[in-house]
Symmetry: C2
Subunit: 530 residues, 2 copies
Amino acid sequence: SSLSAIGNTLSASVTVMLAPLLQRKRIVSSPNLSKSMIHITDPQKPNMTENGLGHRERVLNVDTMNPNVKRIEYAVRGPIVQRAVQIEKELKEGVKKPFTEVIKANIGDAHAMGQKPITFFRQVIALCVYPDLLEDDKFPEDAKNRAWRILQACGGGSLGAYSASSGIEVIRQDVAKYIEKRDSGIPSNPDDIYLSTGASDAIVTMLKLLTSGEGKTRTGVMISIPQYPLYSAALAELAAVQISYYLDEDKCWSLDVSELRRAVKAAREHCNPRALCIINPGNPTGQVQNRQCIEDVIRFAAEEHLFLMADEVYQDNVYMEGCQFHSFKKVLFEMGSEYSSVVELMVTDCTTWCGFRGGYMEVINMDPEVKLQLTKLVSVQLCPSITGQALLDLVVNPPQPDEPSYATFIKERTANLHILSEKAKMTEQVLNTIPGIHCNPVQGAMYTFPRLTLPEKAINAAKEQEQAPDMFYCMKLLEEMGICLVPGSGFGQRDGTYHFRMTILPATEKLKIVLEKIREFHKRFTEEFS
Amino acid sequence: SSLSAIGNTLSASVTVMLAPLLQRKRIVSSPNLSKSMIHITDPQKPNMTENGLGHRERVLNVDTMNPNVKRIEYAVRGPIVQRAVQIEKELKEGVKKPFTEVIKANIGDAHAMGQKPITFFRQVIALCVYPDLLEDDKFPEDAKNRAWRILQACGGGSLGAYSASSGIEVIRQDVAKYIEKRDSGIPSNPDDIYLSTGASDAIVTMLKLLTSGEGKTRTGVMISIPQYPLYSAALAELAAVQISYYLDEDKCWSLDVSELRRAVKAAREHCNPRALCIINPGNPTGQVQNRQCIEDVIRFAAEEHLFLMADEVYQDNVYMEGCQFHSFKKVLFEMGSEYSSVVELMVTDCTTWCGFRGGYMEVINMDPEVKLQLTKLVSVQLCPSITGQALLDLVVNPPQPDEPSYATFIKERTANLHILSEKAKMTEQVLNTIPGIHCNPVQGAMYTFPRLTLPEKAINAAKEQEQAPDMFYCMKLLEEMGICLVPGSGFGQRDGTYHFRMTILPATEKLKIVLEKIREFHKRFTEEFS
C-alpha cells in the first residue's frame, strides 16, 4: 500500500539521520523484519546487545495501537493531499512536470485561496495582541473600542491568559445576541453557548457525550452520505455506529424523510440510534435545505427520539436565487412548544479564518446535569484559543452603520460574497458542459460534488491497483494536471457512483484554469480507457 | 450533591427564560419528576400534548450519556473554581464578604496573574495578524523579519489559513533546531515534531494512540501521584487503566524506581502496562529531577517495555540552586544507542501564553507506520491554532544577540524568571513558618503542594458533608478569605494525607497577602476544630 511505502521512506530517513550519532552500533531496518521491530546490530556482537534489549517489537506499533484510530479515514487531508505536497516539493527541487504549480481545491481554506481578510478584524486582533497600538492614530476608534472591550474581559488584560473553559463570558453574550437577531428575537441564553476550537471540536465533543452502550445498545449516529468526513472519523474513534442516510442527487442533494426512516429502521436492528446529524448548507454537496425539509427533519427527530445536531458553519454562504438559509433553531421554535420544548438540538458555527480555530455551539433543551458534564469535559482542555474567541466576537458583532469602519467592512464582505456567488455559478455551468460530468447547482457553502461517468476499463484498472475508481481518477488528475481534488469515496456515495469534491474558493482566474484542466483531463481519461 | 443543586438552578432559569415565549404551554420542572424528564403542561389539556411527545426522558441524560465522561474529574477547574467565579459575581453585585476580591491561585495562568507579556512576541504576532504594520517605522526590523518569515509560510500569506495538520513546516524546523541546541547537538528531526493545541492536546493524542485491549489486556498507563489531573481525566475518558506510582514527599517529591517497580508489578495482575508518564519539573509538586533519576527511569522503561511520555512544559522554570533541568531526550541519547535506539519516547512542551494554546511534541523511535496514523489522527482536527504556532516559533527562536530586540527581550525574560524565583523561595519560607503546614522546596515549575495537618474533628466534619477533608478546608478558605486553591485530593495523595496546590504566580504583593491569609485561616481552622 502507499501507506507502507511512505512508512519505509520515513524509516530509511530516520536511519540516515541517526547514522552519524550512533557510532559503533547501528539501527538497521531490515526488510526481512517487521517494520515495528527495532533491530540493533553491533559489528562486534552480531545480533546481540549488551543489555539484551534488542530484537523486539516496539511498545507502540500498528498491531498494538488503538484499533479505533486505525479505522479512521480522513480524505480531506488523505493520501492525495500528501502526494500534492510531495509534488510541490519536487517542483521546487526542479523536477519537470506537465504543470508549474499544484492548485489545491481540496479544502475550504478561504485565506489560502487568496480571499482578502476583513481589515477591521485584522485591526482589532492586532490591537488586542499588542495593546500599545491603542495609542496609535492610524487605527479607527471602533476598532480600538472593540479591542478594549475584549481585553477587559481577558485575565490580566491579555489575550495570553486562559479564559473560562466555555469561553469568555462577554463573547458568549455577543454570540447569543447575534443568534437572537438572526432568529427574529427567539431568545438565546449565553449559558447555552460553548465556544470551541473550530466547529470540529464542538462536533466531536457532542458526539463524545452521546456515545455509550455495547453491542446492540451501542449509540448509533445518523449522518448523510455524502458526508463531511469529520463525522465518520469521530464515530470511528469513538467506536459509535455510523448510520448512513443518502441525500438524493437527482433532486439536487435534497433530504427525504422517507430515507431517514428507512435508515433508522434498519439501524434499530443492530444498534441504538440516538442522534441525527445534518449539514446545512451542505458539505460536500453545496445544497441549501428548504424550510419544509427542516420541519420534516425536526418532526422525524422528535418522533424517533433522536438528538439533533445541525452543522450550520456555512450559514452565511448562500448564493442561489430563491434559496435562503433557515436556522434549525428558528424553525424549531416556530413549530411551537410541542417541539421547541422537547427536541434536543445542538447547532455549530465557526469563523472563516480557519487557522484561528474559532467556533461555538449552542445547545437547546440539554439536560442541566449533562450541561455540567459538558462544562467539565471541555475544562480538561482548559479553553479554546483566545485569538479564535476574539475573532468570533468580531464576526458576530461586526461594525454597525454608525461606526467609522462600517463602510469598508460592508464593502469587503460584500465583495467576498459576490465573488463566491459568481464562482458558484461558473463552476456549475462549466462542469455541466463536460460530457461525462454532471454537477448540481452550488446553492451554498463552498463546494461542489459533481458526478463522474467513468469508463468500465478505468474502473477495472483502478480495481487492479486496489484503488477506489474516483481515487484512481483524482490521483491521475493530480499527477498529470497538478489539480488536487478529493475523491468522492472519501465522503461516501451510492455504490457504483463516482464523484469528486472541489471547493469553489480558488481566485476566479485560477478557478477557470482548474475547470479547463478538468475538461481536458476528463476527455483524455475517457479516451484512454474506452 | 452540589452538582445537582446547580443543575436545578439552571433548569429553573431555563424555564424562566422561555416563559414569555411559550404562550399557552409551559415547561415545568416538577420536583417529582426526574430532572432528565421533559414535562409539558397545557392549561387546556393537562398532562397531555397534541403530538404525544411530552412526558419523556431526554435522549441525552446522565443515565444515557457516555459513562467514561462521567468518570472524569478535573479539579483545576472543578467545583471550587466554579464557586470562586460565583463569589466574584456576588461581590460585583454588592454582596458583603469578609474580603473584597477573590485571589485565584488555582491555575498556572501567568498573564492573568499579571506577568508582563514579552514585547517582542506581542509585536511579531501583531505584525502577522495585520501585515499593513510592516510599513510602520515603530516596529523593529527583527520583529518585521520574523513576521515576514512566518507569513511566507502561511497559506495565502495569512494567519487565517489552515496549516499542515502537524504544523507549519518552518516552525517545526525551528523547534527541531531549538531542541538540538538545548541538547548539545543531539539531532532533532522536524518530521518527529508535531505542533499541538497546547501540551494537553499532545498528551491526550498520545494516550489515545496507546490505548487498546479489553479486560486484563487493557492498556495501563503509569502516572505519578500527585499528578496533573489532565492525565487521570484523559485515562478515564479513554477507559484506560490508571496505574498510580507515588512520589516521595519526604524526599522532596523525588521519584524512586523501586516504587515504579512495585506499581507495575501490581498492575500486571489486572491490565497491560504500556506507558509511563513523567512530569518534570513537577506539577503540582514543583520538584526537579536529577540526572541519575532520569537514567533510572529510562532503564526501567526499557526493561519493562514501556513507552515513555515526558511532560517537560516547565523546563525553563528551575529556581533552586544546585537544580538543573535535564531533558529526557538528551539523557536517553547520552546513555548510548542500546537505549537511544530502543526506548520509545514522547516529549511535550508549550508556551506560557496559555490562551494561545501553542505547544508541540517530539516523538523518538516511533514506529513509522504509527507516525502515519498519528498524522492522520491529528489531521481530523485540521490544524492547531496558527497564532499559537506563530507564538511557539518566537519562543523557540527568540531575538539573537546581534538583533535590535535582544536587549529588551533578555531584560523582560530575566525579570520574569527572577521574580518567579524569589516567589518560589518566599512561598516555601512563609508556609513552613505556619504550624501544621509543611512545604517542600519549590525547585521548579510554578506550583507548591504543601502538606496540611488537619484536626480529627475537621476530618469528621468533612466526612459528614461527604467532602474530602482538603476540599472542606479549601472551600472554607475560599468562603472566609477569598483565596482560591485546589485541594490535594484533586491531584491524588497518599491516603490519610492532605494537601493543596497553589501557584506561585500572583504578583509579589498579592502572594504575600495569600500566604498571610493562609496563615490566619489555618490557625483559626485548627482552633475551630480542636
